[in-house]
Amino acid sequence: MCLAVPGQIIECSGEDAVVDLQGNRMRISTILTPDILVGNWVLVHAGFAITQIDETDALETWDYLRGAYGDDFIRASDPDSANAIEKEDP
């Protein structure tokens, strides 16, 4: 439950942002990472960006998550999300 997943900030307005999680987009809060900018990569946990990370680390983590949990990781872990706003076609 303490697992956080990497995402890239797509839009940012005040303390709200839209993050891309490998094709799934989610509205999150950046109140815990106030210096974050569009294009930055962050770890997302429970609807909040909790830290900024490097793109290389983010992509490596996604490679691992796909291998360990499968491509449906986000969909499987997020079936009732009130914050999921759209899903891109792969």
């Binding site: 303490c2 956080a4 999150i28 815990l32 609807g47 990370i53 360990a68 009130a82």
Partner: protein
Amino acid sequence: MTGEIPTLLVELEALCERIGRRAQFMEVCGTHTVSVFRNGIRPILPENLRLVSGPGCPVCVTAQRHIDAALDIAGRSGVMVATYGDMLRVPGRSGSLETLRAAGARVRVVNSARAALQLAREHPDCDVVFLAVGFETTAPATAAIVLEAERDGVDNLSILMCHKLVVPAMLMLLETRDPGRPGLDGFLCPGHVSVIIGANAYEPIVERHAKPCVVAGFEADQILTGLVHLARQVAQDRATLENVYSAVVSAEGNTVAQKLVDRVFTVVDTVWRQLGTIPQSGHELAPPYRRFDAVQRFELMIGEDEDHPKCRCGDVIQGIVEPWECTLCGSRCTPRSPVGPCMVSSEGTCAAWYKYGRNLPGYSACAEKETGS
């Protein structure tokens, strides 16, 4: 900082041989527990290394009395309970949130604290109660929605506070006597909890108890790197704090999140399921925000826990027994029909053993014994 898995395994084997006795390391975090199983790490560890799963699954350590409080609230009219998915099936004294939902109670699964706040905005006709569980990674999200609710006047939101703190539980394992508890040689410290609290948060464990602490990520090579660093310290008879997840975890942690939590919450003694009260190991709402406290708002009576007499979840999360040593495990208690919380949560030690470890030597020997008897 990490290496190739075969190289790490060779190094770990050599270090364990050098230690010359059985080494016992605790992986504190439930995410580590599951990752160890998912990656098939357990069967390839050196024979004289025991990996003990600790009290790091928030679902597993939420006291039954708090589940009962959530059930009490969910059974009332004009109320909606929101919580994270794993909490639905945790058994209280009588039933679970899932059984109440099936009977018509308004219980919603959320994957974010903000979603609970959103439910309160969308349903001004009812009181939305957020059953807030989780460790330091999750607590800032709860603190943030309390501030947002206060700012926006969302008065129909309240919080049933069940947040827990990791380090006090680790200290308790070292500072209270229990003859059955394994002598731990070091801790594999959680990665994403440490993003918030910072690697330095484990200093008391190293300084007061001379136990090595290594902060590690949750990928296979990161976990093995963490174990190599722990074994190296033991082999060299030293105890330090190391961070092998420094790409993500800083020494100080997320100070913005820490300040937010300090503003909205107060640290208090709290009850952990089957572990009793651990000093300074939980949060309650600080006085300025107490009006969001569900216990106060609903005048709840928080009772006592009354776990199944044979449930050994409390012993499992201290490493006193392995799940398969519990007489309920795999027979009366399964993920489909759980008796104890460690079989409910996807990160619970019992569920992880049941799902991934049934072919491992201890579990299968135990199962054979039961079948024969």
